[in-house]
């Protein structure tokens, strides 16, 4: 039986209560909207890309603890990373929360994001953990359509 504390780790609850980079950057050059119709989570991700590097990244929206913390920690983790790295990290993060890889294997490369490994025991919550990431990818791809996780 999965332990609730594995899912709701202190660092996740902290980012839920005090989300980082929760703002609209004036100089963002890409953004996209995401929506999870199942639970009504909404997120907008803003990025400023210069020479293929994420110079600034922030978000707005409302959602559950998992989706808010995931968006908040994503913005912290990806600042300064190249678009190529972002794609690779998203893939690893996705494997982590869907249980395709072990938490240990990703601990080094995903840093703090490894706290989301508990999500693997809650399949219906994977969409919460990945909403901001899917939305970021849409922003980088220049997609105009709202990302829906269903």
């Amino acid at each position: 039986m999965p332990d609730l504390r594995e899912l709701y780790q202190q660092v996740i609850l902290d980012h839920h209560k005090k989300p980082r980079n929760f703002r609209v950057p004036a100089d963002a050059n890409k953004h996209a909207d995401g929506f999870n119709p199942l639970c009504g989570d909404k997120v907008t991700v803003y990025v400023r890309i210069e020479d293929g590097v994420v110079r600034d990244i922030a978000f707005q929206g409302s959602g559950c603890a998992i989706s808010t913390a995931s968006a908040s920690m994503m913005t912290e983790f990806l600042k300064g990373k190249s678009e190529v790295e972002v794609a690779r990290i998203f893939e690893r993060f996705h494997d982590l929360v869907t249980g395709k890889s072990s938490p240990d294997a990703d601990a080094s490369s995903l840093g703090k994001l490894a706290v989301f490994s508990g999500v693997r025991d809650y399949p219906v919550r994977v969409k919460c953990a990945t909403l901001a990431w899917h939305t970021l990818r849409a922003a980088l791809d220049g997609s105009q359509e709202t990302v829906a996780t269903e």
Binding site: L7, L38, C39
Partner: protein, 419 residues
Amino acid sequence: MKSANKIPLMERGAGLDVQKIRRDFPALHQDVHGKPLVYLDNAATSQKPQAVIDALVGFYTKDCSNIHRGVHLLSERATKAYEDSRMKVKHFIRAGHEKEIIFVRGATEGINLVAQSYARPLLQPGDEILISAMEHHSNIVPWQIVCEERGACLRIIPMNSHGELEMDQYESLLSSRVRLVAVTQVSNALGTVNPVRRIIELAHARNIPVLLDGAQAVPHTKVDVAQLDCDFYAFSGHKMYGPTGVGVLYGKAHLLEAMPPYQGGGDMISSVTFEKTIYNRLPYKFEAGTPNIAGGIALGAAIDYLQEIGMDRIAAYEHDLLVYATAAFAPLAGVRLIGTAKEKAGVLSFVVDGVHPHDVGTILDQEGIAIRTGHHCAQPVMDFFHVPATARASLAFYNTREEIDALVAGIRKVAEVFS
């Protein structure tokens, strides 16, 4: 908790033997995440008594054959069982004639049938259809589709902050342009029991027909369509302890007679040539193709089961349970009930300060407690109360006070995790 326990024993629902009833529902007796299941998602779908499961198995084991067309014995038996079910539905909702009972897939299909076969041919540009602010999407979208196609306008009866319809405003919305009123009898998201008799009286005084969405009413209260005098009444089998995929549209015969068919196919015709088809009589005109035969028969078994217990006793028991639960919620800090109408069915829609309903649902699930979280297919209701979603516990007559206590303990656990 204290105040909840003060409710005298005698109010505990007119001698309903809940433990005996619970034994009739096999799905209730299982562990979820190592805890006994507390099933409080009855407004989404109810569990099924053994009698309903037996009816499904019995059909497929002994009587499986098509209906209305076979000369052989199995087909005769299946046809009789299916048509017996129609009679049971007729008696259950006190319809005047079995030809007014149309089997559909569920309340949603029943409403779509009326939208397409009644409203669509009738609507002229500028006409109006009147629904309420607390409708399920299934009583919004079918009307939006026909209104858009015909250039008609969808108007909304507003509600107050308790989740009660503003009846004064309803009256003033009943203009000469309104062609149909379509409202829910009981709100799935709020639990509000609407004053449907008054709604119908006021509409009929202006010769406007009324459709009632009875999906949340039929499982919990006695419904008498003759006394209500509603023109259409739609409900689902699976919310009233019957199987999924079958439901009923009741319609007054003279309205149904005048309506064109909804779908074409077998069974809905009396003769077909390439030049001309003559439609079958009611109710078959609206039942194209092989229906959900097993589901229809098992719906009859669900009705038998409910009538044996008695809808009045079920309503009384569930009301007591709601009173108990509402009192048990009162001392919970940071928990707010959404939907506090004076007339309410067994629905507790709530939000917890600082905790998203989805997180509430996950934590309760770990305690074995099944509730619904989300917008409950009623996004306009969520918008009205300025919440993205709610958590919703919905009661059935097999739920107990102990299960309410488990829910309250679960909500305390939510606060603990998020403290």
